[in-house]
């Protein structure tokens, strides 16, 4: 489930004036059937979003970037968006299944879009 239950609840709390909302994207090498409430299974890196795009009506896109040095030697199997530092809420989680291996010649960008329908 890409949008976690924590994320769904978080949206409701946010509409009620809550101050917690996604600000970070994390990548990891772990695996899990369901999403954790607070973070990835084996987090490799967590960064502030490179970009948050709301120019399309009813949509929001979060962008996270990692350069080739940062990704060198890593295997990417999971990523998510979170509200803060470790221990915060994870609002979105995705597990890729098969890992993507980075050999130092590729940088990484992850774009996640939510739509209100």
């Amino acid at each position: 489930m890409p949008i976690t239950e924590v994320g769904q609840s978080g949206v409701c709390i946010l509409l009620a004036g809550g101050a917690s909302y996604p600000g970070y994207m994390a990548i990891g090498s772990g695996s899990g059937v369901t999403a954790n409430a607070t973070g990835l299974y084996a987090e490799l890196s967590r960064k502030i979003f490179t970009d948050t795009d709301t120019t399309t009506l009813r949509k929001i896109t979060w962008v996270g970037d990692w350069n080739s040095f940062e990704m060198s030697g890593l295997e990417l199997t999971e990523f998510g968006i979170l509200t803060g530092s470790p221990g915060s809420e994870m609002w979105h989680y995705e597990n890729l299944g098969n890992p993507i291996t980075f050999d130092g010649t590729n940088e990484l960008r992850i774009e996640i879009t939510w739509e209100v329908i």
Binding site: P2, I3, G7, Q8, V11, L15, K59, D65, N67, S68, F69, E70, L76, F79, H92, E94, L96, I100, F102, G104, T105, N106, E107, L108, R109, I110, E111, I112, T113, W114, E115, V116, I117
Partner: protein, 504 residues
């Protein structure tokens, strides 16, 4: 010439109906305008297209209508689908949609408990529309009649308008543009002259059945404080009150007398000084072994303070009608009537409406006409005893099928005064029951109000992309570990999507 129709459902053209009916009606009929349309539903063609709540619009014209020429036609009805029936039989599937026009809104909403005092009819209606009505507007037309007092207790807006219409001899309807008209009867001329050249068949019914030339109106009852004094003669023990007493206090020489109810027990309870006989209006001072002698002595002043029950009753009769048709009574009991003036207004309007036999006409018309119920027409059928009479159009029934449209035999009109049917009696029974059940409702009641609402914010993950870009041994400007590599904008390689996903 022939008739041509145009049907839109949710703003999409659906002219392929097999048959259809559109009935334009006014409040007097206890019904709203309504429609029925039948379509061939082969292979479920319309199953997913027509649903409850869809808006239906129907136009008619004497030339072919297209979506671009609708302004040339006459819009007969704008309504809402309230019922959908799909019937399958062999290779012939039929889908039938029926519904009411926006009069439905007036029938579905009630006027909250409120009393209107000394206000013009049109101001009362305007206030009701401003407070309660959605989707329908009111074309405020001067009536100029002031209603002394009228009370509404959760009666539907339709029934409330009907009460007002009855009081001032008016009629009302909602037109195809969702505008409510409330006007005196026979105000707007439809321009239609019905005579031997355009009437296919005619039916005139005149009946004494609903005649009433002596009308009683009973409203609510009130308790009113009242005091009577007597001077005792020392002999008599029974004193007659002017009214049947409620909550009675008897004072003898300024001292409160202890009372009881006459014939309530075989033996008068000890200490009882007087008894009240409610229906006889008697105060009976008791004497005997148990009670002792409580008969006031001569010259003592007896004061009786009690509540008397005052009814609102108005009575009126039309002597000329009695002379012509014989006495026929109507008794109206309506606990919602809290004011004598209101009762009087109702009595007068009932006499005016019902002191003569009702004449109802039903005419099948030949030719092309665009009629709206509520307007009036002129009828000249001397052989039927109707010579150049102006009659209100109560109902216009358009029946559409291909042959009827070609023959121009589409319209049936109901004229003048509606003769009550079983449905009207049922409607009266239901309205009466509502009145009984709601008799204790008051506009000053404190209401604990709860408002419930819910909506869904469905968040959908439109997608995610994991993108890679080949960089070789370089890094890009702006990255955290940049060490003299290339500017992002000057880099040769584009990002490529490695993997993507998401829920759609």
């Amino acid at each position: 010439m022939a008739y041509y129709t145009f049907v839109k459902i949710n703003d999409i053209e659906y002219n392929e109906y097999v048959t259809g009916d559109v009935v334009s009606s006014i409040g007097e009929n206890n019904t709203s305008s309504n429609f029925t349309l039948h379509y061939e539903n082969n292979n479920g063609r319309y199953t997913d297209l027509f649903d409850i709540g869809d808006e239906v619009q129907v136009w008619i014209h004497n030339a072919v209508l297209t979506s671009g020429t609708l302004a040339n036609g006459t819009k007969l009805l704008t309504g809402i689908v309230e019922k959908r029936v799909i019937k399958g039989k062999g290779n012939k599937d039929i889908i039938t949609i029926t519904g009411r026009d926006y009069t439905a809104r007036l029938q579905d909403i009630t006027v909250q408990p409120e009393v209107y005092t000394s206000q013009l009819v049109e101001d009362i209606i305007e206030d009701i529309f401003n407070k309660y009505v959605e989707d329908v507007t009111y074309d405020k037309t001067a009536i100029g009649v002031t209603i002394t007092r009228i009370t509404f207790k959760h009666s539907t807006i339709f029934d409330s308008l009907k009460r007002l219409a009855n009081l001032v001899n008016a009629t009302f309807w909602v037109d195809a543009d969702r505008v409510t008209h409330f006007v005196f009867k026979n105000t707007t001329d439809s321009g239609l002259l019905i005579n031997n050249t355009n009437s296919l068949d005619v039916n005139w019914t005149k009946t004494r059945k609903e005649l009433a030339n002596q009308v009683w109106v009973y409203g609510d009852r009130y308790l009113d404080g009242y005091t009577q004094t007597f001077t005792a003669d020392g002999i008599g023990s029974v004193f007659l009150l002017d009214y049947k007493p409620h909550s009675t206090l008897i004072n003898v020489s300024g001292l409160l007398s202890k009372g009881g109810i006459a014939n309530f027990a075989q033996e008068v309870q000890s200490g009882t000084q007087h008894l009240i006989s409610f229906n006889d209006r008697h105060v009976i001072f008791v004497s005997g072994t148990n009670a002792g002698n409580n008969i006031p002595v001569s010259g003592v002043t007896i004061s009786a303070e009690y509540d008397r029950d005052l009814p609102i009753v108005k009575f009126g009769r039309d002597r000329s009608s009695i002379k012509a048709y014989g006495l026929k009574e109507q008794v109206i009991i309506d606990k919602d009537i809290k004011d004598p003036d209101e009762a009087e207004d109702l009595m007068k309007s009932q006499l005016a409406e019902q002191s003569n036999p009702k004449l109802e006409g039903n005419v099948n018309l030949d030719g092309i006409y665009y009629l709206v119920a509520g307007n009036f027409c002129t009828v000249n059928k001397p052989n039927d005893g109707v010579t150049n009479q102006q009659y209100n159009i109560l109902e216009v029934n358009y029946s559409f099928d291909k042959e009827a449209l070609l023959r121009e035999e589409v319209i049936k009109v109901k004229l003048n005064k509606r003769i009550r049917q079983l449905t009207d009696e049922l409607k009266d029974i239901i309205t009466g029951l509502k009145g009984l059940r709601g008799s204790d409702i008051d506009e000053t009641d404190l209401i604990t109000r709860f408002e419930f609402d819910e909506d869904q914010l469905q968040l959908q993950n439109d997608g995610w992309f994991v993108k890679q870009r080949f960089t070789g041994s370089e890094t890009l400007w702006g990255m955290s570990t940049w060490s003299g590599g290339l500017w992002d904008g000057s880099y040769d390689y584009a990002r490529t999507t490695t993997i993507s996903g998401g829920e759609f």
